[in-house]
C-alpha cells in the first residue's frame, strides 16, 4: 500500500534530497507517494508542520531544537531522524566591503579575513554606523556559524556589529538597497547576489566548521511514532537520492529539476554551482572548486549525531544568553534520533556508525570509526580556530566560549 507524505520546504538547494527522492522514483520504490508544500518563511514551514498541513519538513536544525524547548512559542516535541546535509552555505560581503578587505578570486583565509573585518567593524562602530549582517533566522546554523566565526576573531556579534534577519530570496535586494554589508545564507541565494554584482562570496561555512550540521528533516514526535515505517522508508529513499545527487553524471539533470518553479526556481546554471561545489565568487569571475561545499551523502553525512544537536544547544545558550540546564540539554539531544536512522538503514549495507555521539571538531586527519555495519572513514571535521566540542564536557566548553 502506498503511503502519502507531504513535505514542507523553503526554496534552497539543500531541499534536494526529498525532491530528488520523489523525482527519480526512489520514494515510489519504497512505497511512498510524496507531495510538497513550498513556502517562503521558516515561520510558515514550522506552522504548517505543527498544525498538520505537512507531515514533515526541511528545517533549519536549531529551529527544530528551539521548537522542542519552547523558545519563542509553546513547546512542541520535534524529532530529527535524518540530517539533510552538512554545510552548503556561504558568507558574502557587499562588493564595497569585500573590495576593501578581501582578496580577489579565492575563498579567503577565515583568520586573516576575520582580523581585517575586526578593524573595519571597529571603525564603523566608532563612526556610529555598525556593520550589518543578514542571517535567515535567529535559530539557524547560518546565525550560529557566522557568530562563531565573528566571536573567534574578536568581533562581538551583539555589540560590535548588527545581525538582522533577511529572507534568503531577498538577500540580493537587501544588498542592492544598502541594507546589509554582509550575509550568511544558503544557495542559490549567494550566487544570485554575485550574479547581480551586489556582493562577493568570501567564505564557505565549511571553512568555519568543516562538517557543520545544516538542514534536517523534522517531524512531530507523535507523528513519527505513529508512522514509523513510512519515515524509515523515506530515510532509505533519501539515502538513494543522495547517492544520485553526488554523482557528477547527474548534476545537470538534477540542477534542471531543482530549478523548476515548484521547487527552488531560478536558473539551473546557478543551482549547478552549489551542487557541483564550484562557486563563482564574484561577478564575471571563474568558478572556484571548493570540495565538499555541500556534503549530503558520504561518510554517513545524514546520520543524526546527538553531539551535533548538543553543539547547537550550546550555541543557543551562548547567544540567547540563557542559563545552561542539563535537563534542556538532554531534551535537545533527544531531538536527534540516530536510533530511527539505524533501524531504517539496518541490513541495507549502508555504513552505520557504532556510536551515537562523537567529539565534534576532533578529527584532524582521515580516521576510521567504529561501525555497526560497513566502513566509515571520517575526513577532517575541524573548527577553524582549532577548538573542539566534547559533548561530555559541555559546561567547560561554554565557559571557554563565553
Amino acid at each position: 500500500m502506498t503511503e502519502q507524505l507531504t513535505i514542507g520546504f523553503l526554496p534552497l538547494a539543500d531541499a534536494c534530497l526529498p525532491i530528488l527522492a520523489h523525482e527519480h522514483g526512489f520514494a515510489e520504490e519504497e512505497g511512498l507517494a510524496l507531495s510538497f508544500q513550498r513556502d517562503v518563511s521558516w515561520a510558515t514551514v514550522l506552522d504548517r508542520l505543527l498544525y498538520g498541513h505537512t507531515d514533515t519538513a526541511h528545517l533549519i536544525a536549531p529551529l527544530a531544537i528551539a521548537a522542542t524547548l519552547g523558545r519563542g512559542r509553546p513547546a512542541q516535541p520535534l524529532a530529527v531522524p535524518f540530517v539533510l546535509g552538512l554545510n552548503g552555505n556561504g558568507v558574502t560581503m557587499s562588493t564595497a566591503l569585500a573590495g576593501r578587505i578581501a582578496r580577489s578570486g579565492t575563498f579567503e583565509d577565515p583568520r586573516r579575513l576575520g582580523a581585517a573585518l575586526a578593524s573595519e567593524a571597529a571603525e564603523r562602530k566608532r563612526a556610529g554606523a555598525k556593520l550589518r549582517f543578514g542571517v535567515v533566522h535567529r535559530y539557524s546554523s547560518h546565525n550560529y556559524m557566522l557568530r562563531y566565526w565573528l566571536a573567534a576573531c574578536g568581533i562581538r556579534p551583539d555589540e560590535d556589529v548588527e545581525i538582522v534577519t533577511v529572507a534568503p530570496p531577498f538577500v540580493a535586494d537587501a544588498y542592492a538597497n544598502g541594507e546589509i554589508d554582509g550575509a550568511c545564507v544558503g544557495e542559490p541565494w549567494n550566487s544570485l547576489a554575485v550574479e547581480r554584482d551586489v556582493a562577493r562570496i568570501v567564505l564557505a561555512t565549511a571553512q568555519i566548521w568543516r562538517r557543520g550540521v545544516e538542514k534536517v528533516l523534522a517531524v512531530r514526535r507523535p507523528v513519527l511514532d505513529a508512522r514509523r515505517p513510512a519515515f524509515e522508508a523515506l530515510i532509505r529513499a533519501m539515502r538513494r537520492a543522495g547517492r544520485h545527487f553526488v554523482d557528477p553524471e547527474n548534476w545537470d539533470a538534477n540542477a534542471r529539476i531543482l530549478a523548476r518553479p515548484e521547487y527552488v526556481g531560478g536558473d539551473p546554471a546557478l543551482i549547478r554551482r552549489a551542487i557541483s561545489d564550484r562557486l563563482v565568487l564574484q561577478s564575471g569571475g571563474e568558478a572556484v572548486h571548493f570540495p565538499d561545499f555541500m556534503f549530503q551523502y558520504s561518510e554517513a553525512a545524514n546520520f543524526p549525531w546527538a553531539s551535533q544537536a548538543l553543539w547547537l544547544y550550546t550555541q543557543m545558550i551562548r547567544w540567547d544568553r540563557s542559563p545552561f540546564s542539563a535537563e534542556e540539554a538532554a531534551a535537545a539531544a533527544a531531538v536527534f534520533r540516530p536510533d530511527v536512522y539505524r533501524s531504517a538503514m539496518y541490513d541495507t549495507g549502508d555504513p552505520l556508525p557504532g556510536a551515537s555521539s562523537k567529539v565534534e571538531g576532533s578529527v584532524a586527519q582521515l580516521t576510521s570509526v567504529g561501525t555497526q555495519q560497513g566502513i566509515i572513514t571520517l575526513s577532517p571535521n575541524t573548527f577553524f580556530d582549532g577548538d573542539s566540542f566534547d559533548p561530555e564536557k559541555m559546561e567547560e566548553y561554554l565557559a571557554r566560549l563565553l
Partner: protein, 193 residues
C-alpha cells in the same frame, strides 16, 4: 484596539479591512510594502498584527517581536496555548496572528474569527476567478481550433465544432482538450501564421 494587517496583496488586505471595520473601537492600519515594514509597524504600535502565511517577511517580523519582548509593548506570538483550536483554524485559513501580551481572549476571538472568515472568502474568490479565467482560456482555444479546421478543411463554423465534439466523444475526452491538441499540432506542423 489597534490592528495592523500585513499583506502584499492589496485586494486581500482591503477585503480583510472591510471585514474588521465592523469591530467597535478599532483602528486598522494596512502594510503592503516589504521595505521599511518594521519601522512603520513600530510607529503604529499595534495591539494585534495579522499577516498571511505566504508573506516572505514573517521571519523578519518574528525576529522583531522576539527582540521587542524586552520593550514596553511585548507581543506574544500567539493568542495563548488554550486557544489552540482558534490558531489551527487561522493557520488553515492562511493567516497568522500576533497579539500584545495581556490582551484578553474575549477581545481577540471575534477579531480572529472575522479575519478567518475574510481570508476564506478571499480564497474562494480566487478559486472562482481562476475557474472563470480557465473557462475563458478554454473558449479561446476552442475558437482557435475551430478556425484552424475551417481554414484547413474548408468547413463551416458549426461543422468545425461538430468535428471537435465528435472526436471528443469518441476518445472520451473534453472538447477543450481536443481543441488544445488541434492548436498544438497546428503550431508544431503548420506554417505558424
Amino acid at each position: 484596539m489597534r490592528i495592523a494587517i500585513i499583506d502584499e496583496s492589496t485586494t486581500r488586505a482591503s477585503i480583510i479591512e472591510d471585514g474588521l471595520a465592523q469591530l467597535a473601537d478599532s483602528e486598522i492600519f494596512i502594510l503592503t510594502e516589504r521595505q521599511g515594514l518594521i519601522s512603520r509597524l513600530e510607529a503604529f504600535a499595534p495591539d494585534v498584527v495579522l499577516i498571511d502565511l505566504g508573506n516572505p517577511s514573517r521571519d523578519v517580523l518574528e525576529e522583531y517581536f522576539a527582540v521587542s519582548r524586552v520593550l514596553a509593548r511585548p507581543i506574544a506570538m500567539f493568542v495563548d496555548e488554550s486557544d489552540d483550536e482558534a490558531i489551527a483554524a487561522s493557520i488553515d485559513a492562511g493567516v497568522s496572528a500576533y497579539v500584545v501580551d495581556g490582551l484578553s481572549a474575549h477581545r481577540i476571538r471575534p477579531l480572529l474569527d472575522l479575519a478567518i472568515k475574510r481570508f476564506n472568502a478571499f480564497a474562494r474568490l480566487q478559486a472562482d476567478l481562476a475557474a472563470a479565467e480557465g473557462k475563458l482560456a478554454e473558449r479561446e482555444t476552442i475558437d482557435r481550433a475551430k478556425r484552424i479546421l475551417m481554414d484547413s478543411k474548408k468547413l463551416s463554423e458549426p461543422e468545425a465544432y461538430a468535428e471537435l465534439r465528435r472526436k471528443a466523444m469518441s476518445s472520451n475526452r473534453r472538447i477543450a482538450e481536443i481543441a488544445e491538441a488541434v492548436v498544438t499540432a497546428h503550431d508544431l506542423l503548420g506554417d505558424g501564421t
